[in-house]
């Protein structure tokens, strides 16, 4: 069935740890439509349990599609105190071109 191309989910690792009371979610790998719901629910769990502050660490995220951007934008709307830490140049450029830099809190 050569034309049956239901690809499996892309590879992503989601790690959660606390940094002086602020939860930090690290995303490593590729964030796209195939695994977006997993990441959305993982982050949702952290937010439900936490104080509303959140750091999303992106230093090992090598790809993100528009649904990933939408997730970050959605998080930024609902949780103003969200910080996107250390994105890779690819992701940083994507954020810049999509006009989201002005609403996302990217550091450094």
């Amino acid at each position: 069935m050569a034309n049956l191309e239901l690809n499996g989910p892309s590879s992503i690792t989601v790690k959660t740890l606390a940094e002086g009371g602020t939860p930090v979610v690290s995303l490593a790998g590729e964030l796209d439509l195939t695994n977006i719901e997993r990441v959305r629910s993982a982050i949702g769990d952290v937010l439900t349990a936490g104080t509303g502050r959140l750091v999303v660490e992106l230093s090992e995220l090598v790809f993100m599609d528009s649904s990933g951007l939408a997730l970050l934008a959605s998080l930024a709307r609902k949780t103003p105190e969200i910080e996107l830490r250390d994105p890779t140049p690819i992701v940083r450029r994507l954020i810049g071109l999509s006009g989201l830099a002005e609403i996302l809190n990217v550091s450094p």
Binding site: S74, R77, P89, I90
Partner: protein, 540 residues
């Protein structure tokens, strides 16, 4: 307008199913044939093996009987009767010594019932003495005469209506002439003997004949319940017995190798048939199961193709079927559906003519995929067209579109590029809601329009959206596209943008051919994301 989409077809032919049934029958038949052949060979081999063992054992036991049993008789007669004759010859026919010699031979539980000593002189033998009972029939001179020529002794059978005796005559010569010892041994009534249970002979049918022929009249004794002569697997051996031979014929009563040896061939046959049957059953079941799985896969594939086809049809239906024919402007478009599953994408393009020299174009991309994304796309497309007709500026159009989608409510946003062109003034006002910048091909080469992108549609913004005005000369081409055209995993977006820039500057005879070349050069073999592409050439 040209809309390209990969054509796909899935078919699950019935010919495959018919062929499948034939395969099931052929393979099952092959298994049965192989099983039967193996069973047959094994059965024959074990039958032969059993028969061979049976024969070997029979030969062995018959030899044993001949050596140990019947040969004893020969020695007995030789020792006793021959011995007595020798004693008589040595003693010159001493009657007392003969009688003494015969005490362990005749009567009192000994084998012989009658004994007598004869002196051979002239033509008629003379009786010297006799012991035991009277002979069954009077001893004849002819019988005694044969003793001299028959060493070690002469033997014959005597029959009267009431009894049967074996008559023996052994001759011995001394200085006083030739003496003949005569004796008779009674034969069992009805010629039947019973071997004791546990005797090695008990497992055999045994028939002993006097002489070389196996006739009823020659039969001395038998323990066989079966009719004579013995049939089936038999073994016959002859041993010397005086002037003639004893013929010993045997056949097995049952299996000489025990119950296991007897049932083994049958067990092999039945077991083999059973295994063959089970193997055939299992083979057929396995093949049918695989066939079922293949059919299911084929059905799923077909359903998938159908669903995908529905999605593609819906997507194409949402895109404008006909773009306006604007004087002084050439338009070409491309739409390529991605292959990532059956989900419909959210890319679109649109051109709205305002009057004879002004038009608005919109290119957008809703994040994510699926029917929800397509619905957002449809509402944005219709709203955008309406706002454009109302005469709003590109920035205003994009800001108002945010009423149709909200990231917090829909989990979707849309990157949208909107341009308002004035063909007479040669101006183009651009606004971008997070969309990639359009490429402008002019006399000085290809450049990306310096549009400052604001946040995507669906995200409430803090500051008003920026607008950029560029000048477009006659002959210039503007290419707007969605990110599927330039985005690659693990690559900076700028690399993809440069690739587009290079591909767009290659020679082409028409705008449509230019877009075709760009798509061919930039799209992957199996693009996962959708690609929407619109090209516009200012003719004047």
């Amino acid at each position: 307008m040209v809309v390209t989409a990969p054509l796909r077809a899935g078919s699950a032919g019935t010919s495959g199913r018919v062929r499948g049934r034939k395969v099931v029958r052929a393979v099952t038949a092959a298994v049965v044939v192989v099983g039967l052949v193996i069973t047959g060979v094994l059965a024959v081999a074990t039958f032969r093996g059993h028969e061979q063992t049976q024969r070997t054992l029979l030969d062995l036991q018959t030899t044993l009987i001949a050596d140990a049993g019947e040969a004893e008789d020969q020695l007995y007669v030789e020792d006793h009767l021959g011995g007595a004759a020798s004693v008589a010859a040595a003693s010159g026919g001493d009657a007392a010594m003969f009688r003494q010699a015969m005490t362990t031979t005749v009567g009192g539980g000994n084998a012989f019932v009658t004994g007598s000593l004869w002196r051979l002189s002239g033509s008629s033998p003379q009786l010297v003495t006799e012991v035991g009972a009277a002979p069954l029939v009077p001893v004849t001179a002819a019988l005694l005469g044969k003793a001299e020529a028959s060493r070690p002794f002469f033997v014959t059978e005597l029959v009267t209506p009431g009894a049967r005796h074996l008559a023996f005559a052994a001759a011995a010569s001394g200085k006083d002439g030739t003496f003949i010892a005569y004796g008779e041994e009674p034969l069992p009534a009805n010629r039947r003997i019973t071997e004791p249970v546990g005797s090695p002979v008990a497992s055999l049918n045994l028939a002993v004949y006097l002489g070389p022929k196996q006739t009823l009249s020659a039969l001395l004794e038998t323990d066989s319940p079966a009719p004579l002569p013995l049939s089936g697997t038999t073994d016959t051996t002859q041993i010397a017995f005086g002037s003639t031979v004893l013929t010993i014929s045997t056949s097995p009563r049952g299996s000489l190798t025990g119950i296991t040896g007897e049932i083994l061939p049958w067990a092999v046959t039945v077991g083999g048939l059973l295994v063959t049957f089970l193997a055939a059953l299992l083979t057929e079941r396995l093949i049918r199961r695989r066939e079922g799985a293949e059919q299911l896969t084929s059905e799923v594939s077909k359903l998938y193709m159908e669903q995908r086809s529905v999605a593609e049809t819906l997507q194409h239906a949402l895109l404008p079927q006909r773009l306006p024919d604007i004087p002084g402007l050439e338009i070409a478009v491309r739409y390529i559906a991605g292959t990532s599953g059956v989900d419909i994408g959210g890319d679109w393009y649109d051109v709205v003519q305002l009057d004879d020299h002004r038009f608005v174009f919109i290119v957008g991309d809703v994040s994510g995929r699926g029917v929800r994304a397509a619905a957002v796309m449809a509402s944005l497309q219709f709203a955008g067209r309406a706002y454009a007709r109302e005469g709003y500026s590109p920035a205003m159009i994009l800001e108002r579109l945010s009423q149709s989608v909200d990231i917090e409510r829909d989990d979707h946003f849309a990157t949208v590029l909107c341009g308002l062109a004035d063909l007479t003034a040669h101006t183009l006002v651009l606004a971008s809601a997070g969309h990639l910048p359009p490429l402008i091909l002019g006399g000085s080469g290809a450049r990306f329009a310096a549009v400052k992108p604001g946040p995507p549609v669906g995200i409430n913004r803090k500051a008003p959206l920026a607008q950029t005005e560029v000048t477009i000369a006659a002959g210039d081409v503007l290419i707007a596209y969605t990110d599927g055209l330039v985005e690659r995993r693990g690559e900076m977006l700028d690399v993809g943008l440069e690739r587009l820039q290079t591909a767009a500057t290659r020679d082409s005879s028409s705008l449509d051919e230019m877009l075709g070349g760009i798509v061919t050069e930039l799209s992957e073999d199996t693009p996962t994301d959708d690609i929407a592409l619109i090209g516009m050439r200012w003719l004047t």
